[in-house]
């Protein structure tokens, strides 16, 4: 029985920080949900979700790292606590029993593990995956004699899988907005030819990104031709436009000087 050491307080303080972050990110999710009708944009929703998820992860890591310490801290009300008037609050703060819904959730995890051990869920996963269907391992009771993975096998699989998945992912070209042929021909002309906006790969370097901007400009031009008075017009005229703008020479005589010459014959300086 002793009071908390500064180190212990520090680790509690860290818990507090993590909780602040989580509370905050949850709060802002709620705010943005309430402020948008019907829903915030998909990207913003997704980024909020991943923030919350990473906050949860941080908290969870912290809790498990300090598991022994936290388990050994016992909290109790001091005499100053207005137990009589705020008994409910105290109860709420000191509650260690899991919320029934969480309890339920834990139960489901347990059940799912039991299913695995009992019926070889993991063994069926691969066949499941091949079919690409079936959202969970439940409802597999029909398949009685599928292979079952031992705890060790499972651990080995989980160790192997991330590395393998990663190297598999690296083998793919994820920026495939253009075909190889199109790349060789020059991406800009393809984009202009189709009159469509396709974003260039994000792994391109700076200069190419600049070009992308130019390209967008150009396609806006194509758009101009089309968005007139609602009718068609001549659309297939931009074919040669791609290469035309590379090395432009800017006029050296200002427009005003030309106009002055045209008006009065006074030659430009």
């Amino acid at each position: 029985m002793s009071t908390l050491s500064p180190d212990q307080i520090k680790s509690l303080e860290q818990s507090r920080q993590r909780l602040i972050q989580l509370t905050h990110s949850l709060g802002s999710l709620i705010t943005s949900l309430n402020q948008s009708d019907p829903l915030p944009s998909w990207p913003s929703l997704q980024s909020q979700a991943s923030i919350i998820s990473s906050n949860l992860l941080t908290l969870s890591t912290h809790l498990s790292e300090n598991h022994d310490l936290l388990r050994s801290i016992s909290a109790y009300p001091s005499p100053e606590f207005p137990t009589r008037t705020h008994g409910n609050t105290l109860e709420q703060l000191l509650r260690t029993k899991l919320d029934p819904r969480v309890e339920d959730w834990v139960g489901r995890g347990r059940k799912s593990d039991n299913n695995n051990t009992d019926m070889g869920l993991w063994g069926t996963l691969t066949s499941n995956s091949a079919a690409g269907l079936s959202s969970t391992g439940q409802g597999l009771s029909g398949e009685g004699n599928v292979a079952r993975l031992s705890e060790g096998d499972l651990a080995a699989l989980w160790e192997w899988a991330p590395v393998e998945a990663n190297s598999e992912a690296r083998r793919r070209n994820w920026g495939g907005d253009f075909t190889l042929e199109e790349r060789e021909r020059g991406v800009q002309s393809v984009a202009a030819g189709l009159g469509l906006r396709r974003v260039l790969e994000d792994d391109e370097d700076e200069s190419e990104e600049e070009e992308e901007e130019e390209e967008e400009d150009e396609m806006e031009v194509v758009g101009v031709r089309k968005s007139v008075t609602g009718s068609g017009f001549e659309f297939d005229i931009a074919a040669a436009s791609g290469g035309a703008r590379q090395e432009g020479v800017a006029p050296v005589v200002p427009l005003d000087d030309i106009l002055r010459y045209m008006t009065t014959g006074i030659p430009p300086r």
Binding site: S227, F233, A250, P251, T264
Partner: protein, 274 residues
């Protein structure tokens, strides 16, 4: 009449592309235009024009009345514009009867000929653009009238105008509803080779045209000017003027990613002769 205008400078490398874009926008093929433009300047305080110039038989009464009005308002620069064709360039004069020219006229283009004496002319009077009110757009009073063919210096001089200089305007015109879009540039005549000590302009319009290849763009990078113009019958009709401006702004919007159409500096279009 009033004229509302927007201008843009078009670098030469953009010219081809813009032509195509304009063709698409207006759904028409470009109309190629070649014009001789002569600049005249008033040299005396205007008085009532009595002199009828040289050959005014082609001029109609209404034109003459208008001319008088135009040329009597104050001291102005004014333009005389004559349409020409590509075949007019580099050809030997036909009607001048100059023996030397005929002798030396071994040009390939000898089949066609430029006849200065039947060159039609039009007087195009432009006032200095209005100040202030419509600063986002160039607006000015304009008037034009048909002039006698051929020698124009004599009648112009009778009206109190002297020849300043001349140049050629080459370009393509498009019609977009009420708007005339003219993508053009100024070409200058070659400086006479045999008079190197006197590079100045001759004092009267050329009677024959040099080869087109010998013309050089005033703006030496070969850039073009995009001019969008709309004319209004009655400049005092505010509603019409507003409509016309809106049409121009609409075009500016449609072309904004290609070119930036803007009003011109008022003083660069100042036609007053000081």
């Amino acid at each position: 009449m009033h004229e509302l205008l927007l201008f843009a400078s078009v670098p030469s490398h953009q010219h081809h592309e813009l032509l195509q874009q304009l063709a698409g926008l207006t759904a028409m093929q470009p109309r190629h235009r070649l014009e001789r433009r002569l600049i005249f300047k008033a040299y005396r305080k205007p008085g009532l024009v009595n002199a009828r110039g040289g050959t005014s038989r082609e001029m109609q009464g209404a034109d003459l009345v208008r001319l008088n009005k135009m040329l009597n308002g104050g001291m102005y620069y004014t333009q005389v514009v004559g349409p020409i064709s590509g075949a007019d360039f580099g050809s030997k004069p036909s009607s001048s009867g100059d023996l030397d020219a005929t002798m030396s006229g071994t040009d390939e283009t000898a089949g066609s000929s430029y006849d200065y004496d039947s060159q039609p002319w039009k007087l195009e009077f432009r006032d200095i653009p209005e100040a202030g009110t419509r600063s986002t757009i160039t607006a000015r009073l304009t008037a034009s009238a048909t002039l006698p063919k051929g020698d124009i210096v004599t009648p112009m001089s009778a009206w109190g105008y002297s020849f300043v200089t001349e140049y050629v305007v080459e370009g393509d015109a498009f019609i977009h509803n009420d708007i005339v879009i003219f993508l053009h540039r100024v070409l200058q005549y070659p400086v006479h080779g045999h008079e190197p000590h006197e590079p100045h302009e001759p004092h009267e319009p050329r009677r024959q045209m040099p080869s087109f290849r010998d013309l050089s763009p005033l703006e030496r990078t070969g850039s073009y000017i995009l001019q969008a113009a709309i004319t209004v019958q009655d400049g005092s009709n505010q509603e019409l003027m507003r409509t016309a401006s809106q049409h121009l702004f609409g075009l500016r919007e449609q072309l904004k990613t290609a070119v930036r159409l803007e009003h011109a500096d008022r003083l660069s279009l100042d036609t007053r002769a000081k």
